[in-house]
């Protein structure tokens, strides 16, 4: 892998990387966590809760890898289990009912790969979450603090707006997995997965610079998103997502 990508991976996977939890603490008030998939599990990899942003109630979803070894094990390194997607789905359904915009903070490898998740319908849960986020009648925003790959990250990223930290990554599979599948080919140079390239395609709408005060940049990004989408009807929100992703797919033809 090229040095630039290795550098980014090192940064986003560092234990001291800023987490969704830190941003939540600094930018939101009255944070109330909501646990559980209502069946049998409470996936620690997926935080779900309600909070106030300024005076507006919002729903927050957050996935991070954990900031200590214990936390990393507990959070499964940020790999969300089938029960985590079930919890997330429950949370966004409530958000829709009570007209709360949805914000997701992401730094995760992708979805959990385990016997338990497969047995509990990982495929269907991811599909349901992607589908629901696309059809959501309230605005949604995905903030890539670090990386997020595969359908597991798309489940949150299928949103009206995508904001990405400048070292963030979003790909069909982790760079390691892609390199393994495509063998020796230099994946990072040809496959768009970095913030800059994804912005050029229209997938990432805004980049958070990591050399400035990131908290205030995220604050502004959330404010702008709410200003832009709060007054749209549910049909307009769904249409905007459809057009956004159709626009990105059209970029395929425009590449050299």
């Amino acid at each position: 892998m090229a040095n630039e990508l290795e550098q980014k991976l090192k940064l986003v996977r560092d234990v001291n990387r800023i987490t969704g939890q830190e941003i939540i603490q600094q930018l939101f008030h009255q944070v109330l966590e909501l646990h559980g998939d209502r069946i049998n599990h409470d996936d620690p990899a997926l935080f779900s809760g309600i909070a106030l942003f300024e005076n507006q109630p919002v729903t927050i979803l957050s996935v991070d890898r954990g900031t200590s070894l214990t936390e990393r094990i507990e959070k499964n390194g940020g790999a969300v289990r089938a029960s985590g997607y079930r919890k997330a789905l429950r949370s966004v359904e409530l958000a829709e009912k009570f007209n709360r915009p949805v914000i997701s903070f992401l730094n995760m490898p992708g979805a959990d790969a385990s016997l338990e998740s497969e047995n509990e319908g990982q495929s269907l849960m991811i599909a349901k979450m992607i589908a629901k986020m696309g059809q959501l009648k309230v605005p949604n925003l995905a903030v890539f603090i670090g990386e997020g790959h595969s359908g597991g990250a798309l489940a949150f990223a299928n949103s009206n707006r995508i904001v990405m930290f400048e070292n963030g990554l979003f790909s069909v599979a982790s760079p390691e997995a892609m390199s393994a599948i495509l063998r020796k080919e230099t994946v990072s140079e040809v496959v768009p997965m970095t913030a800059g390239k994804l912005q050029k395609m229209g997938l990432v709408d805004q980049i958070i610079k990591e050399d400035q005060d990131v908290i205030s940049q995220v604050n502004t990004a959330i404010k702008t998103w709410l200003d832009d989408f709060n007054n749209l009807s549910s049909n307009e929100l769904i249409k905007q997502r459809t057009e956004k992703f159709a626009h990105v797919l059209a970029y395929w033809d425009k590449m050299d």
């Binding site: 385990s114 495929s123 992607i130 069909v172």
Partner: protein, 266 residues
């Protein structure tokens, strides 16, 4: 099956490795030694499932290109096209099953393992839109190794863009039956495959989100032998039923009948 090339008189069974003669495979291409169904070509699937000569192909809107300039991707596409005589890993059209006109999509695991890319995704959206427009039930034969890595994020974004059309289709009250065949994995499995009204699977098909090897490597778990088989998924409540291909046409017809039975009364 009449179109099978001469040199393919003998072929080996993917599961037990035995060499099987064309005549021994029989009409439904099931291994006489181990009982596993052979992976089918699109033509074989069409012949087995739909009323004779009823399949009317719809041309795909777009063609695949090597836009990211991966070494060998263009070659792989050409080879797959020569091997399968199809442009991509999906064939779409309309067909009849016992006089029910349906919109049909047949994915092709012999074309780069049916991997989901820009063209395959567009083909699936195209047949879903056609089903919506003509208000036809959609019967989709799914098979896919997952997202096609050579098209990067563009392959990933097929998942949400297909789901957006599928949600409109389902909301419009159109019947969608998916038949998961060997293999149905990753990006296909975690998007449109399981999101239909009915999810059937062919016996012995491998179906899952992550590959077995990936699960073993990341979780270190011992996986049961039958893990991710259609039969295993049925036991875990994730399929409506597992149907042997010998009975599939009858089951599809029954399901279509059951969804139109009230129409005559109303």
């Amino acid at each position: 099956m009449s179109e099978m090339p001469e040199q393919a008189l003998w072929s080996s069974c993917k599961y037990c490795g035995r060499h099987v003669h064309t005549e021994q495979w029989g009409l439904f291409l099931r291994c006489p030694f181990c009982g596993f169904p052979k992976r089918l070509t699109v033509e074989q699937r069409i012949e087995m499932t739909f009323d004779p000569d009823s399949f009317q192909k719809i041309d795909l809107n777009i063609k695949s290109k090597d836009q990211l300039h991966f070494k060998k991707y263009a070659d792989k596409l050409t080879k797959a096209q020569q091997k399968t005589k199809h442009d991509e890993a999906i064939t779409i059209g309309t067909a009849k099953i016992g006089n029910h006109l349906v919109a049909a999509g047949i994915m092709d695991n012999q074309f780069m393992v049916g991997t989901l890319n820009t063209t395959v995704g567009e083909g699936i959206r195209q047949i879903m839109e056609a089903a919506l427009e003509q208000r036809l039930p959609l019967v989709l034969f799914v098979t896919s190794g997952g997202a096609r890595m050579q098209e990067g994020i563009f392959s990933l974004l097929q998942m949400n863009t297909i789901l957006a059309v599928q949600e409109r289709l389902l909301d419009a009250g159109i019947l969608n039956i998916n038949i998961l065949t060997d293999p149905t994995m990753g990006g296909a499995s975690a998007s449109f495959a399981f999101n239909s009204d009915y999810v059937l699977a062919e016996d012995h098909a491998q179906i899952g989100f992550s590959g077995k090897r990936v699960i073993e490597q990341t979780s270190g778990e011992q996986l049961p032998d039958e893990f991710q088989s259609a039969e295993y998924l049925l036991e875990h409540g994730q399929l409506d039923d597992v149907i042997q291909r010998e009975k599939l046409k009858d089951v599809l017809q029954q399901l279509l009948d059951l969804h139109t039975a009230g129409d005559q009364n109303g």
